[in-house]
Structures are given as C-alpha cells and as structure tokens.
C-alpha cells in the first residue's frame, strides 16, 4: 500500500535529532565555518558521550537517513565530524566479508572516537574513477600500495586524529581495465601512508578534506574487499568496479538526504522571516495572481518535496532489496541541484540578510553546493540516469 506515514520511531528519531543539533550544532555553526581546520573537540566529546542514545548513529535504512537529514539541517559540516565509519564503512559494508565487517567495523563504538574514510579521487581523475592510477601490488602475504589520493572526506580525522581507517581504490592490474580495480582497507598508523595536506574549501569547512600519499604502504593480504582475483580473460569485465558502484547506490540517497537537510534549513529560515513580516504564501492561488516572491517560494518548496520523495523512494527500494541504481542517481541528481538552487534563491530573496555572515543562510548556500559534486557530480548522475533509461552501456553513451 502506498503510504507516507512515518512510524512513531521515525518521528521520534527526527525530533530527537532536530533538538540535539539545535542545541549542539547551531550555536557553533558559524564558529567552525570561520575557523577552518580547527577541531570541534568539545562537540565531538559530547556526541561521543551521547552515542548510546542513537541520535548520531549512522545507517542506510529510512529511519537513519531521515535522521541524517535532520542532522544536516543543523550543520552539514559538523555532521561529517560525527565519529563513525561513514563512507569507508559503506564500502566495507557493500563488499566486505563477515570477518572483515567484524574486524574493521566491530570496534567502532568502543574506546575513543574513530572515523572511516573513502579514498577514490586522484589529482588526475575525478568522475572517471576507472582511470585510477594508484596501484596495489601483491607481495607474499601483503599488498603494497602506491599513489596519491585527494578529496578524502575526513581523511585526517580517520588517519591522524583517530584509530580509524580509509578504504582505498587501486588497480591490481592495469591491463585488466575496470576489472583490475579493487578496494583495500588501510588502518590508521600504517607505515607508508601519510596525510599530505588539507583543502581550503567553499563550504562544509568543519569537515576535513585530505590528500593522502601511499608510498610503499604495506597492508595484510586479507584487507582487500571483495574477490582478489582479476578475470583477465574478459577485459570488459567490471566486477571490481561494480563494488565501487554498488557502494554508490547505497550512499547516493544518503548524500541526497544531507542536501535536503541544508535545503530545508534555508527554507525554514526564509519562511520564518516571511512570517515575521506577515507575508503569507497563497499556495492555492492561480499563477497569474501570485507575486514573484510567492512563485519563488512555491517553486523552492515543490522542488524540495520532489527531491525528498525521490530520495525516500530510492531508500525504500533498497530496504526492499530491489536494485535502485537508477532511482539512487535520480535522487542524488535532483537533490544536489534542487538544494543548490534553493539555497541560492534564498540568499537572493533575503537580500542583505541573506548575504551577511551575521546569519547562517550564506553559509548554507556554500555548504549546499558540495552535494551537487561529491559522490558523483550532478552530471555524472544524469549520465547514469540517461544510460539506464536508454538501456545504453557506457560505450554507447559517453
């Protein structure tokens, strides 16, 4: 039965997350935006102490993702600072064995806070992840990693500030093309791995974005995720690559939800001011009677709703174990762009209040933009959608 009712558990989860970030994130939101690379240590400690309450626990189910939207309503940068295996965890989850899940994710709730990260992008390849040049060479019981990875979200926190790990994508056999692409778990403190630099960014400044160098970095053979064998006979085989792509199917709706949180923060801000000014939006009035402002607000709200429902559908399909590659990309493409536009429009509408750093709106506009870029740019997601609806291979539609 088609149903949009949230369970009591979901409603409570949303409410609790909302209250928590209102209290914990919002008051320090501006500070960490203006003090890039400064660790919100006190906040992390507080979050760590509250971890049994479940508010800050991550997951890919609808309930968790609804909570994630709320956390990002609070602050999208600080959201990324929440301890946990994050995208690295998603990769382990997508293609790891039971033993690996236990080994890499088992102790995340114990001891000191830890982070997980994912390293895919390189200076010479972004969206075209099959062009990865980092290498993994087998040497007895070990893999030897070499290469440079950039734009690793929370890379420093995972590897320098905690006992976390990073999932690295590297090729074990360049001649095998995509089939040679594998992912490896590299724990913090592994010799031969170092954090080279931190990016200075447009937004989500509370989160670190690191460059990581692998220089003859040795890890145990058992740290490879998925099948270590390369099917050489068939050069077009994409098994290794599929691991990465399966991860994206799971993570893209989450990014969409993160975007939605920022978008709604902006929408709420605008609506609050309009209400204070006594301006009512006449939703049901005919178009030609609407003011330009009303048209804008209606368009923003409708686009938010469109993105949200596409996101919920992608998540619901995953919960039903239905393939959701198309729907995940639809949600991500729509949410990334919709929220970018919503926040930019909000700054326009609010005029001096929007542009001023006295309020958070301009920050949300800067924060929102990343959602149209990471985990697949809007264009890459459009490409995926296009291939799916046309039933085209990557060679038929480049």
């Amino acid at each position: 039965m088609i149903d949009f009712e949230l369970t009591p558990e979901q409603q409570e989860g949303i409410k609790a997350a909302h209250e928590a970030v209102k209290e914990l994130f919002r008051p320090v939101s501006r500070y960490y935006d203006e003090h890039e690379h400064e660790s919100p240590q006190e906040l992390i400690d507080q979050i760590w102490k509250k971890r049994s309450e479940g508010i800050f626990n991550m997951g890919m189910d609808i309930t968790s993702v609804l909570r994630i939207e709320e956390l990002c309503w609070g602050d999208a940068g600080l959201f990324l600072c929440i301890p946990g295996p994050s995208l690295g965890g998603a990769a382990v989850f997508a293609s790891g064995t039971k033993e690996q899940l236990q080994r890499f994710l088992g102790s995340f709730n114990e001891g000191e806070p830890k982070w997980g990260a994912m390293a895919m992008t390189e200076p010479g390849c972004g969206s075209d992840t099959s062009a990865i040049t980092a290498t993994a060479t087998r040497d007895g019981d070990e893999w030897v990693l070499n290469g440079e990875k950039i734009f690793v979200t929370m890379g420093k926190r995972a590897l320098e500030d905690s006992d976390g790990f990073v999932v690295v994508w590297a090729t074990v056999d360049k001649s095998a093309g995509r089939a040679g692409m594998k992912s490896f778990v590299v724990p913090a403190g592994t010799p031969g791995m170092r954090v080279e630099k931190l990016e200075k960014k447009l937004g989500i400044k509370a989160s670190d974005t690191a460059t990581i160098i692998f220089d003859n970095c040795r890890i145990p053979f058992g740290n490879i995720l998925g099948n270590p064998e390369v099917k050489k006979a068939d050069k077009t085989a994409t098994k290794g690559f599929k691991g990465a792509m399966a991860t994206f199917d799971a993570t893209r709706p989450i990014i969409a939800a993160q975007a939605l949180g920022v978008g709604r923060a902006a929408l709420d801000f605008v609506k609050e001011i309009l209400e204070k000014e006594g301006i009512k939006i006449r939703y049901s009035a005919p178009r030609q009677k609407l003011t330009a402002l009303e048209r804008d607000i209606i368009e923003m709200e409708a686009n938010y709703k469109a993105a949200k429902l596409l996101t919920l559908r992608a998540l619901w399909m995953m919960s039903q174990l239905q393939p959701n590659n198309l729907e995940s990309s639809m949600a991500k493409a729509k949410a990334g762009l919709a929220v970018t536009k919503i926040t930019q429009k909000a700054v326009e509408i609010m005029g001096p209040l929007g542009y001023s750093r006295k309020y958070l709106l301009e920050k949300w506009m800067r924060d929102a933009k990343i959602n149209d870029i990471f985990e697949g740019t809007g264009q890459i997601n459009m490409l995926i959608v296009a291939r799916r609806i046309l039933n085209y291979s990557r060679d038929q539609l480049k």
């Binding site: 088609i2 149903d3 009677k289 039903q320 493409a333 046309l390």
Partner: protein, 364 residues
C-alpha cells in the same frame, strides 16, 4: 510506514487501465483529435470497467469499492498516457458523482448516485472555469443569490466538458463570497449552453461555454445542503487528478521521444548517444517520477481525509511546469518531425500546455 508499492487490487486496476489505453485508446486518439469526436463504443467499454462507478457504495446500487484518490491517480495516469481527451471524457461523470458521494446529503446521494451505477455511461459534468482574464477558482464571478426557497444563479462558464449531452451539472458559484456547488438539471430555465469551444488541445473532448441567466434552483440542490461543500477539498481532488494526468501525458511524450532518439541516426550515431539529447531525456524521466510521487503523497493525504490544499497545490504547479517542459522537449528531440502531425508529440505538447489552464476539469 513508508511504502511506494500499490496494493494488489490497485495493480490489477492499473494493468486493466493500461491495457485499455494501449489496445483501444492509442489506436484512435489521433483520428479523434483530428475529427473532434470520440466513438461512443470506446466510452462505453471504459465505463464497463467501472473506473467511476466502481467506488459507488452498495446502498446506492454500486459494487461498494473503496473510493480512493490514490487509486484514482493511478488510473488517471494510465488513461492519460493513452489520451487526455478520452481520459477526461471517460472520467467526466465523476466531476458530478464524486463531490456528491463525498459531500452530498443523504437525500442527494439517494437521488443521484444510483444514476452512476448503471451499465450505460451517464453523462454528467461540472462548471467551474470562467471566460475572463485573471480567473481565480476561489473568487468566482458567477454568483448564487439566496431567494426564497432556492438560489438564483448568474454568470458565465467555459471549459464545461460534455455540456450538450450531460443530464446533470454541478455549477460552482460564489454565495456571499464563499464558493458553493449547485446541482442543476439539464433544461433548467436560465441554463444556456453555448457553442462548442475550439481549443488548442484536447480537441477530441467536447467542451462548451455556458451561461446562467437568473437560473433558479431549489434550496435542496446546494451540494451538502445547509452544510454546503468543502471547496478546498474539491479543488485538491481536482488538482491531484490533473497532476496524475499530466504525469501520464508527459510519460507518453517521454517514451516516444526516447525511442525515437535511439533510432534516429545523425553523424553516424543514434542521437540518444549524445549527452545533449540524453541529458534532456534524463531530466524528463526524473521530473516525471518526481511529479508522480508528489501526486501520490497529496492523494494519500486526501485518502486520510486530511487537508491536502498545500500538497495538491504544490504538485499541480509542479505538474503544470513539468508537463510543458517534457512535451516541449519531446517535440524538440524529434526536430522537424516533431512538428508534423504524423508523429504524436505535437498533440502531447498542445495537451500538455493545457494543464495550467485546467482547473476543476477532472477529479479523483
């Protein structure tokens, strides 16, 4: 609990509507558009499927199926994928029957609902839109003045589907500034039906101008009698229905232009293998899905008897834009071929542009 899966019963009705749209409607829709006529036999076949009468309660002679806006949306999309004119014709009696079912007094239900439970199509309609610039359904120029034992209606209406053959009309008018609906029978003095309208699209659907000149109706003909009607809800039901139909029309245009783009070769490759075309199609697909989901959400609220004014208005505005965007692109993808009437996309563009004008011309 969140779910995007229609019930088994809904899936059955949908597949029936889909088959009908594909096997019957798609065979003749171009001819109907050119001739401005829909064969009676098709309407009768559709009526026998019980798409409208199916939700009439047993006590009024119906099969007693559940009246659901979600089910109505699902049907509306499938039929409109076939053809919008025919969909609006087929579902036209609901414009009268559903408001009576939801808001009529016991007497009104007893008197009118059994008429919609017969084997034969029962033509009935509603008149909301007025022929003037700045038309606003919430501030009608048509008035209803209480007078003794009844009301006197005055005003002009347009886009009244099937006005010539309809036996019953639901006329929307302002009574002291509040919108009410009045049941007017065919031939009532002062109810004058004008010329058949000539529109850009929905050319197979017969619509008419209509005037009310001191048209007197008895007191008990006000929908809901003393209580009146819930006009917000009627508008929401209409906007949900039209959004569903916009989704169907857009889907038809999307599918056709997608298939064309895969076949049409330019510069040695199908044009679909170029991002300029592929990305247009991707955006069309995303927006169609988004509109459908928003339609379902608004319909879901209606089924829960909640106020869905905001959701229905949002999705209708979104659907209006989506329909013109998608149908225009479909024409664009076919290029010159899209402009000639040999292909259907120009028809869908003409129909797609209509949604922003259509208000109250369909209902779930």
């Amino acid at each position: 609990m969140i779910s995007f899966s229609p019930t088994e019963e809904q899936q059955m009705i949908v597949s029936m509507a889909k088959q009908f749209a594909n096997d019957e409607v798609r065979k003749i829709y171009r001819e109907c558009d050119e001739n401005g006529e829909i064969p009676v036999s098709v309407i009768d076949t559709a009526w026998k499927m019980g798409l409208t009468s199916g939700s009439m309660p047993e006590e009024y002679g119906g099969p007693g199926g559940e009246h659901s806006a979600i089910t109505g949306s699902l049907i509306g999309e499938e039929l409109a994928w076939g053809d919008l004119s025919m969909t609006m014709h087929i579902l036209c009696p609901a414009l009268f029957a559903y408001p009576v079912l939801e808001m009529g007094t016991e007497m009104q239900k007893k008197k009118y609902l059994p008429l919609f439970c017969n084997e034969k199509y029962k033509a009935a309609t509603a008149a909301l839109i007025e022929p003037r610039f700045g038309f606003d359904p919430y501030s009608l120029s048509t008035t209803a003045r209480p007078d003794g034992n009844g009301y006197v209606l005055n005003g002009e209406k347009c886009y009244v589907p099937l006005a010539i053959e309809a036996d019953l009309f639901l006329i929307y008018a302002a009574e002291n500034g509040k919108i009410q609906a009045f049941i007017v029978g065919k031939g009532t003095k002062g109810l004058e039906i004008g010329e058949r309208e000539k529109n850009m699209g929905i050319k197979a659907l017969a619509t008419y101008e209509l005037s009310l000149k001191n048209c007197r109706v008895p007191k008990e003909n006000r929908l809901g009698s003393g209580k009146g009607c819930d006009f917000d809800r009627i508008m929401s039901c209409s906007r949900v229905a039209l959004s569903a139909m916009a989704t169907g029309v857009a889907k038809a245009a999307f599918e056709y232009s997608r298939d064309y783009a895969k076949e049409r070769v330019a510069f040695g490759e199908p044009i679909a293998s170029r991002q300029a075309i592929a990305f247009m199609l991707a955006e069309m697909a995303i927006e169609i899905d988004a509109t459908r989901l928003m339609t379902w959400e608004a319909a879901w609220k209606l089924d829960r008897k909640e106020d869905a004014t905001k959701e229905a208005s949002l999705v209708k505005a979104y659907a209006d834009d989506m329909a013109i965007m998608v149908t225009d692109r479909a024409v664009q993808i076919l290029g010159g071929h899209g402009y000639v009437r040999e292909h259907p996309v120009e028809l869908w563009l003409r129909n797609g542009r209509g949604f922003v004008t259509f208000d109250g011309m369909a209902i779930v």
